[in-house]
Amino acid sequence: MSTALLEVEDLHAWYGEAHVLHGMRFSVREGEVVTLLGRNGAGKTTTLKAILGIGPRRTGSVRFRGQELVHLPPHRIARLGIAWCPEERGIFASLNVLENLLLPPVVAEGGLSLEAIFELFPNLRERLSSQGTKLSGGEQQMLAIARILRTGARLLLLDEPTEGLAPVIVQQIGRTIEKLKRAGFTILLVEQNFRFAARVADRHYIVEHGRVVDEIASVELGPGQERLVAYLAV
């Protein structure tokens, strides 16, 4: 049994007056792939931002390797080895693909080499001098994931990496996540695509109205799958 790498307890968050997270509680163990599943507006993205210390005002507890993060500024949190791939991908228009790839500073040893990254995402190698935002949506998503693999961060927060992408690319990203898991990365994945989530993740937390309302392990899929579908059905 491995211990929790990330522990979130009673996490509340506000945008101005709007109270968006109402006591989120979940944990992720080292080496696991865990999803936050839930409908649009449930508070999944806000949860990632609250972990990273960007955006919403927050209270409660977020511990990483036992260390409390709630009072740290974002750059210090990142330096502990937490990397984020945002929902809108965040590729920089004023940087070319190589500059985008090399932008995040190395925070620890053990990150992937550029060679290993190009093996995962061969398309990127051909496009290094293109402007970042000239890439297709799928390529931008790959670049957004690729650039956080170099840094040595061991906990990856991926926000809807399959959103709006063609099925072949979704499959490629699925295979990538499986490879990363085998390489020992810990991944907290936000998804609405439960079929994708069910394939790659060990456990799922269901988020509704800023709270975790259920937890389902992939091994109990079958009966669990029906519960998942029920939660996500509109």
Binding site: H75, I77, A78, R79, G90, L102, L103, P104, P105
Partner: protein, 295 residues
């Protein structure tokens, strides 16, 4: 005497050189404004006063501490840049997230305060600052006489502008700066101390203004309002080049200086307004400026 377009060559080239000199100051000052605006989203109206502080720091170093021009070129930007860092840290930081207007009012008010303090201390008549011994005299180029100090100003200004551009476009530090200009939150979530970078960037932009002030001291009189007059033209240059564009501010600065100089030759009455006329035309045809990104 040789003539070009009916104008004696020494007159033509003399005005061209004067235009290049003015252009050099426009370029350094608008470059600093562009760097500051890009990252801080603040239109730094204190810039002219900080240029003046650079010139005065050179004067004080010489008259009070016996340190000459070359020391001033190094120390004045450091000292004035440091005051910029304090201004950012204790005043501008508090304006983060507020409307542009607040930054504009604060920096404009600061300029008035600083200029007032200097006027109280030094009066409004200009103080002389001698050209350093190494750069006195000049070269006879045949078609004109080229004073060494003026040649130095043009060359060193170009070098500083190009070096700044290279750092921003070609280095890792520059890619942090460009990325943080686009999306500071994401850059900070990557582990970069963006608030510190913002502070240092303001300090750097201000140091550039002070550097220009030291260069200007032997050419113009050192006086409390020397920046107030200049900065109005520089803002027109910034509007023409496009707010926030690095290369744009360099090219526009030198280009407009030359255009202004040539106007003095061919239509002297228009020379003080030509830049504002160009600004009006550019605003009508390309509101984002010649090099600005639209949208």
């Amino acid at each position: 005497m040789t003539e070009l377009l009916g104008i004696p060559a020494p007159v033509l080239f003399g005005q061209l050189l004067l235009g290049l000199i003015n252009g050099a100051f426009y370029a350094i000052l608008s470059l600093g404004l562009a760097v500051i605006f890009g990252l801080l989203n603040i239109i730094n109206f204190t810039h002219g006063a900080q240029y003046m502080m650079g010139a005065f720091t050179a004067w004080m170093l010489l008259n009070w501490a016996g340190l000459g021009y070359w020391w001033a070129l190094l120390l004045a930007p450091l000292f004035v840049g440091l005051t910029g860092i304090l201004i950012e840290r204790f005043l501008l930081k508090r304006l983060a997230g507020l409307d542009h207007l607040y930054g504009l009012l604060l920096t404009f008010g600061l300029a008035l305060v600083i200029q007032g303090l200097y006027r109280n201390e030094f009066g409004s008549t200009g103080l002389p600052y001698a050209i350093p011994a190494e750069l006195r005299g000049g070269q006879n180029l045949g078609f004109m006489f080229l004073p060494n100090y003026r040649a130095w100003v043009v060359v060193v200004s170009l070098a500083v502008c190009l070096a700044t551009w290279l750092v921003i476009e070609k280095t890792r530090l520059g890619s942090y700066l460009r990325a943080a200009t686009e999306n500071p939150t994401l850059v900070q979530a990557m582990g970069i101390d963006v608030p510190r970078m913002v502070t240092l960037t303001y300090g750097f932009g201000v140091a550039l203004a002070a550097f220009a002030g030291v260069l200007a001291a032997p050419i113009y009189q050192v006086s409390p309002l020397m920046g107030a007059d200049l900065i109005i033209v520089v803002f027109a240059v910034v509007v023409i080049g496009g707010m926030g564009s690095i290369l744009g501010s360099i090219l526009t600065g030198f280009g407009l200086g030359v255009i202004e100089g040539l106007t003095k030759v061919f239509w002297p009455e228009a020379s003080s307004t030509v830049i504002f006329v160009i600004m009006a035309i550019v605003l009508l045809l390309r509101p984002a400026g010649l090099f600005g990104r639209t949208g």
